[in-house]
């Protein structure tokens, strides 16, 4: 029977999953450090100067969330990922509000016994957080205009765009 792992492997506290200040990757890295870890993977989503939706130059993103629901869902996704093989700890922070070009919008840290486990856990975390959690981004363009992102702009065009029939958070993993 699988042992349910406890909160001390999920960082930071859930009320710090969503933050308005810049994310410190070194702190998240430190949070997941573990004597049994042979691999630590840090994923950072960053603001880039273009999107799928538009030919305009993006200078920043602006994030909004149903924060209490998003926190609970991120925590639940972290719990699921800790049940994967070889995972020692996970840490997640996602920005809210305006984030400038080149700056991290989300940082995900994972420590695992082996690198393959770290890659699987990291991808599962970012994919599920992007596809399931009630967080939205608005693209702010050089000319001062803006538009809400249509689904997952960091995905390739052929990827999952949250069609209604498969949107349940429970049938994605």
């Amino acid at each position: 029977m699988a042992v349910i792992k406890t909160r001390n492997q999920i960082f930071p506290q859930p009320e710090q999953f969503l933050v308005r200040d810049s994310i410190n990757r070194d702190i998240l890295n430190q949070m997941v450090s573990h004597p049994k870890a042979g691999a630590v993977l840090l994923f950072e989503g960053t603001v880039r100067n273009h999107t799928h939706d538009s030919n305009q130059e993006v200078i920043a993103l602006d994030y909004e969330a149903q924060a209490s629901m998003a926190q609970k869902m991120i925590y639940s996704i972290c719990q699921d990922v800790l049940q994967l093989s070889g995972i020692h700890a996970v840490a997640v922070q996602h920005r809210l509000g305006r984030v400038e070009l080149g700056i991290a919008t989300i940082v995900i840290a994972v420590s695992a016994s082996h690198r393959h486990e770290a890659y699987l856990a990291s991808r599962t975390l970012i994919d599920r957080i992007k596809h399931e959690c009630p967080i939205w981004k608005r693209e702010i363009f050089r000319d001062g205009s803006s538009q809400w992102s249509q689904g997952c702009t960091a995905c390739s065009a052929t990827e999952y765009h949250q069609p209604k029939q498969t949107k349940s958070p429970h049938n994605l993993v």
Binding site: Q66, I106, P134, I135, W136, Q150, Q162, S168
Partner: protein, 83 residues
């Protein structure tokens, strides 16, 4: 029966409706599609956006066939774009 429930809107839908929350009367019990249809008849200008949206009650997504009658709040979750 009819029940008045706090409904919250976000992102693009909040812009279309010009408000982030309101109290609305719903015919209950209802499932996700029935709640969305009641919102669509009230807000035809948001009909397409609502057709792409999911409903969370008391901060949990409704599953496809779940029928609800007793709850405090509705969050209308348009397609998400975090990360």
């Amino acid at each position: 029966m009819t029940k008045t429930i706090e409904v919250r809107y976000y992102a693009q839908l909040k812009g279309i409706l010009g408000k982030s929350s309101e109290s609305l009367a719903f015919d209950l019990p209802a499932n996700e599609n029935e709640i969305l249809r009641q919102l669509q008849s009230r807000y035809p200008e948001a009909s397409e956006m609502l057709s792409l949206s999911r409903i969370a009650v008391d901060e949990t997504y409704l599953s496809e066939d779940q029928i609800i009658s007793d709850f405090e709040s509705i969050d209308v979750i348009t397609p998400v774009s975090g990360g």
